[in-house]
């Protein structure tokens, strides 16, 4: 029972991971005659006329959000005020830093495929808590860095206009979609293989009567008993590749490549006020705030994954299959997300 609960929770988490992008996923299914909210799908796919960095928005309201909405407007206003005060030489730097940090924390809690990618990646891969937190922080830092590079190079140095920056931001966006699709493809490849092996292993008659679940990472593990020399438990150290493995970096790029509009706006605003350095500082504070929220999300994903693993580790073969199935589903979701986002872009281009 507890094992079933473990698998259930993992699946629930998965569903939640894409919950915010649900309508985008629904977009690939034929919606012409069914009652799916096609308008909402179109809006998720559509580009806001006043967009700063591509497609944005698309969230339904809720009671929780209503209460916090006022705070966010407040942070945003505070950012503007502080940037102007700085220009006037009122030494509002710390106000700006604090407002940016708070903005980052709350902004990161918003919907975004970046977080869906990170959470799904962490559910699909066995990664340690510390590594998950570092990856989330790196993604946040990358996001801030891209915004600084974009506005710093294009606007501050080359005097680019909004139209140009928008075009560049859109290219970066498409690149991030491609990165998501690639990360998804890689995960699907690996997790599909693992699922297939586990399925074969769990169907094998005889030796597995002992009830020992066989961790069938390689295909040759089909005939496997307690004494066949294969590994029967997951050895966490074996799975801890460096933080900078190409797979992990791929996930960071996929999640963090797209710059956020808030950062671009504050950077351009401070540039116009002649205090561009303050904009850079504000963006870094924002990234720190974002890192805090995404790291918390990463920690939750890692815990969920670990819990489900513990429940299934000592169990019968089917829980192992369920776990592998959930991993595969997480991998497939990342791929699906990438494909849907790319399809949305190409249909709009």
């Amino acid at each position: 029972m507890r094992r079933a609960a473990g698998a259930l929770i993992l699946l629930l988490s998965l569903m939640a991971a894409v919950g915010s992008r649900q309508s985008a996923i629904a977009g690939i299914f034929p919606t012409a005659d069914c009652r799916l909210p096609t308008a909402a799908i179109r809006l998720v796919q559509a580009k806001n006329p006043f967009a700063i960095a591509g497609r944005e928005g698309g969230a339904p309201a809720s009671g929780l959000g209503a209460t916090l909405l006022a705070w966010q407007e407040k942070f945003n206003r505070e950012l503007q005020q502080a940037a102007k005060a700085l220009k006037a030489g009122d030494g509002a730097f710390w106000t700006l830093a604090a407002a940016s940090f708070a903005y980052g924390v709350f902004h990161a809690a918003g919907p975004g495929h970046g977080k869906a990618v990170l959470a799904s990646y962490m559910i699909a891969s066995r990664i340690a808590l510390r590594r998950g937190v570092i990856l989330a922080a790196l993604a946040a830092l990358l996001q801030g860095g891209v915004a600084i590079a974009l506005v710093g190079l294009a606007a501050a140095l080359l005097g680019a206009t909004a139209t140009t920056m928008k075009a560049v931001a859109e290219r970066i966006e498409v690149a991030s979609y491609a990165a998501i699709a690639l990360v998804g493809l890689n995960l699907v490849w690996k997790k599909g293989d693992a699922l297939f092996s586990t399925l074969r292993a769990s169907c094998a008659p005889g030796p597995s009567r002992s009830g020992l679940y066989c961790e069938a990472v390689d295909a040759g593990a089909a005939q496997c008993g307690p004494d066949c020399g294969h590994q029967h438990a997951i050895d966490p150290t074996r799975l801890q590749r460096g933080v900078f493995s190409s797979e992990a970096l791929g996930a960071v790029v996929a999640a963090g490549l797209r710059p956020c509009s808030g950062a671009i706006l504050i950077l351009v605003f401070t540039l116009a006020q002649g205090v561009f350095w303050a904009g850079i500082a504000a963006t870094l504070c924002m990234a720190a705030g974002t890192a805090l929220t995404t790291a918390a999300l990463a920690a939750v994903a890692v815990f969920a994954r670990r819990r489900a693993e513990a429940w299934s580790a000592a169990g019968r073969a089917w829980t192992g299959v369920a776990l592998r199935g959930a991993e595969f589903a997480a991998a497939a979701l990342v791929l699906l997300l990438g494909v849907v986002l790319l399809a949305g872009w190409s249909s709009g281009a």
């Binding site: 929770i9 928005g57 969230a59 902004h107 606007a155 815990f303």
Partner: protein, 215 residues
């Protein structure tokens, strides 16, 4: 520690993400001034909008434009105006009009311009013609909002909606939305589940409705 906390954390994940969906908030603010334009036969032809942007978006719009620190000209802002207006149709021009409860359709905007004032605050102006002009005897109403709430639209405080060439006796009134938080908080549990499907949203919930009535 993790043995006890982990299931809790696992359960919190959906909450965190669902809550996340509710954290969407505007990046762009627009103060709206609209004019309901009547034709010679007293029919409503369409709406003339003037959307004034906030300081941040304005700074973004005029970035790299204008000579010697002066605000940019209309011509300089034309490319951005074009991009802005091109994608308006996908969002139904952010203008949702009804005649006696029936939804009305608009044609592509005309007379589009983006201008900057001395303080470098930009305003987007355009005329949004109705697909077919309608007689004004039935109540005509419209709202301006972004369903995705990326842009927060709000009517200007003073005379936000005017009537142009209206027959005598026509009047316009504004209906403010109900205060959001008080009402919404009661629906917290319900809203949690609603989050998983695109449903009602802030954009519409916060939108003022302008109602035009003619004798």
């Amino acid at each position: 520690m993790s043995r006890r906390l982990a299931p809790l954390a696992a359960l919190l994940l959906p909450l965190l993400l669902a809550g996340g969906a509710a954290f969407a908030h505007p990046h762009v603010w627009v103060a709206v001034r609209s004019e309901v334009v009547f034709g010679p036969e007293g029919k409503i032809l369409g709406i003339r909008h003037a959307w004034e942007f906030d300081e941040m978006y304005s700074a973004y719009a005029v970035q790299g434009l204008g000579k010697d620190g002066k605000p940019p000209t209309r011509e300089e802002l034309a490319p951005l105006a074009k991009t802005n207006v091109e994608s308006l149709a996908e969002f139904e021009f952010f203008t949702f009009a009804k005649e006696a409860g029936a939804k009305l359709k608009f044609k592509e905007p005309v007379e589009v311009s983006l201008e900057s004032d001395e303080k470098k605050i930009v305003t987007l102006r355009f005329f949004l013609p109705l697909e077919t002009p309608i007689p004004a005897q039935k109540p005509f109403s419209f709202q301006v909002y972004d369903p995705t709430y990326f842009v927060s639209f709000g009517f200007e405080k003073e005379t936000p909606v005017k009537l142009a060439k209206a027959p005598s006796g026509c009047s316009v009134s504004l209906v403010e939305p109900k205060p959001l938080a008080a009402e919404e908080n009661k629906k917290l549990t319900e809203a949690f589940f609603q989050n998983f499907s695109p449903g009602a949203d802030f954009g519409i919930k916060l939108a003022t409705r302008a109602i035009v009535a003619c004798p």
